[in-house]
Symmetry: C2
């Protein structure tokens, strides 16, 4: 319902509720802030909750370039400024988790704690060159396949609308235009190339890493690496979940986030 | 992402996708446009889809008064004007269904077809005076109880986040402030008092009425009355669903809506 302005790029965000520890929710690539539907109102009863549409996504500006994780993280800081939030717990899924970690490195004073859900760093190192090339050549087919492997079998069986939804997101040009994909994929600090392997040790905030056991997009190993490298970080591996814990098991996800918030207060 | 201006009241709406038959989604009382999450992107692949936050709700203005169904329906027309949509299929749940019917009576030239999901007219006639008084005296407890009876047993068991969500919506003051409830409940043409029993025969567009078998808020009988009174209307009674088909069984709901769209094209 508002826009933050980051050097001329308008970044859409919504702020709901008031009080408590502020929570900022950062969505995965190709989706938008709606993905936190089951978290936003649940937590807004007691907390200020902010959802962001990242640049290039949803209701935000979609410039020709500028899709490094560093730019995205500076957008998050700009949103927090606009929403008058000094410090917050940052909950980030996939590319949202990257932004959360990057924000914590660049602006640790803005971060109270991190929940990194199904994320990673230096993703391109784990992806065969042919697969990256196939993705650029035939985005839609490759992305469809990626998403098939990013949702658990149980989710596909019991909540078929979720795979349908995450596929729909990337097919709607007004939500995620082709040029955003092209620019991000080539960016030396974009979603695939951004590499903070040697800086994870410098993340010094309480951190919970959440991995979905059936997530082939950012597998358990990629998340375990984050948890092993971030000092004091904890790892939760969730059964029968893929890349989208917030949608695949919303009530359990909310309980997990609630526990993390409580642990910060102790 | 945009606002329509209806005589100074700003009504929030989002438009996604392009082409096809335009669809306008109208949410239930106390919620907001997010409730169509699983419909919006699904249909936006092939259709222009518009979701509205009704005045008094979500991201729209919340004037002190003006909550007749007629005002709400004129907001929908204003949104269609702003979104440059001449005619659309109107999908309305609960109070959203009332707006859809009212729009069809007042501006039939803007309506291609109606999907009326868990709705009714002259609701107050079916509610004992004590219950109405209790609702005004203790909104939160009464509304909580109402919602408990508006979600199916299966939904409560398998998707506990849904009851949690619809309860959260009304407890977040910035989403649905108390004065909106107070004004609407007293309005002679508000959500409870609006009465078009004698005008249902004048609705002359293809109409599908959807009722949830376990919906105690707008029971099957209230929806059957609509279907029986609107010329040619069809009634679908859905098992193991309450008031919120779009959330309780999103994939089945989308199939039902898809069938209706196809039937219009024939």
């Amino acid at each position: 319902m508002s826009y933050a302005d980051n050097k001329g790029v308008k970044v859409y965000y919504e702020s709901w509720g008031s009080g408590g520890v502020p929570i900022v929710f950062l969505h995965p690539w190709s989706t938008n802030g709606y993905i936190w539907y089951f978290q936003l109102y649940h937590f807004a009863r007691n907390n200020t909750c902010v959802v962001v549409d990242h640049r290039g996504h949803g209701r935000s500006d979609k410039p020709a370039s500028g899709y490094s994780i560093q730019e995205h993280a500076s957008d998050v800081a700009a949103v927090m400024d606009a929403a008058k939030i000094d410090k917050a717990v940052i909950v980030g899924n996939s590319i949202g988790g990257m932004m959360a970690m990057q924000l914590c490195l660049a602006r640790p004073e803005r971060v109270l704690g991190l929940v990194i859900q199904s994320s990673g760093t230096a993703l391109s190192e784990g992806i065969p060159k042919e697969v990256m090339e196939a993705m650029i050549r035939d985005r839609d087919a490759t992305f469809n396949q990626l998403l098939e492997g990013a949702v658990s079998e149980r989710t596909k069986r019991e909540r078929p609308e979720i795979l349908d939804l995450v596929k729909a997101y990337f097919m709607i040009e007004s939500n995620w235009p082709r040029h955003v994909f092209d620019s991000a994929i080539k960016d030396p600090n974009g979603v695939f190339n951004w590499n903070i392997k040697n800086r994870l040790k410098d993340i010094k905030r309480p951190t919970l890493v959440i991995a979905g056991e059936e997530d082939n997009a950012t597998p358990v190993a990629a998340n375990k690496f984050l948890a092993d490298s971030i000092p004091g970080a904890k790892l939760n591996v969730i059964k029968e979940v893929g890349h989208f814990y917030q949608l695949e098991q919303p009530a359990a996800c909310n309980a997990t986030l609630g526990e993390f918030l409580k642990s910060l207060a102790r």
